[in-house]
């Protein structure tokens, strides 16, 4: 366990303490990405409204502890990432079908970078559509665009 990871975990622990969230934390890794996994009974405070509180803590923790840009830790909470990923793939595929019949670009809801990436990846092998991120900051969203037919 690196010193930076320890600092990051202790920062997250303090924040959770202030927010009165009772949880345990454990480090895991997936495809080379370090993940701090937060688990507990009632995680509604962290996961409400598209997990905006979880994402806010993740952003602050990386800002406080990551002097280098190439080092980022993901926060997960009660399998939120896996469930969200499954959900986003369904949303992406369904929206792509819509685009293929309407032949009009379709913008999805604004999402954080990690979620946009899941959408891009879900449609990367579909020759009928392409995806693009548009907008800035918290308003950046994936737009699914029909490919021109030959």
């Amino acid at each position: 366990m690196s010193e930076r990871n320890e600092r990051l975990a202790s920062f997250v622990e303090k924040i959770l303490g202030h927010l009165d969230v009772r949880a345990t934390m454990e480090w895991t890794e997936k495809e080379g990405q370090e993940i701090l996994d937060i688990r507990g009974e009632d995680m509604s405070l962290l996961l409400a409204h598209g997990a905006k509180v979880l994402y806010a803590i993740e952003y602050l923790a990386n800002l406080v502890c990551g002097e280098k840009q190439d080092w980022r830790v993901l926060l997960d909470c009660n399998d939120f990432r896996a469930m969200r990923s499954y959900e986003l793939e369904l949303v992406a595929k369904k929206a792509a079908e819509k685009v293929k019949t309407s032949l009009r670009p379709f913008p999805l809801q604004p999402m954080p970078p990690s979620e946009r990436r899941i959408v891009h990846m879900a449609l990367v092998e579909d020759p009928m559509v392409r995806t693009e991120s548009q907008g800035f900051g918290d308003n950046r969203r994936v737009v699914i665009i029909p490919n021109k037919l030959n």
């Binding site: 202030h18 405070l45 602050l60 900051g137």
Partner: protein, 78 residues
């Protein structure tokens, strides 16, 4: 008060000059205003690009406010 400490904790971790971080709490009936003061050179650190850091801190305040049935407002002062 826990919210004051939360803001102090985060702000001190973000700035270069933690000794100049102060948070004062102005309590109203429904709304509590938290006034965060940092060194002028650290203002950008607590606000962030396009206010992203300030917004993240406000998100945390909003969440705990919901739990405590109170409204918290963060003001960043020089």
């Amino acid at each position: 008060m826990p919210m004051k400490e939360l803001i102090e904790e985060i702000a001190k971790a973000l700035v270069d000059d933690p000794e100049q971080v102060t948070v004062t709490e102005v309590e109203g009936e429904q709304t509590t205003v938290l006034e965060l003061r940092v060194a002028q050179s650290d203002l950008g650190k607590v606000i962030g690009k396009q206010g992203r850091t300030a917004r993240a801190i406000r998100t945390l305040l909003g969440a705990s406010g919901m739990k405590l049935r109170k409204r918290f407002v963060l003001e960043i002062l020089e």
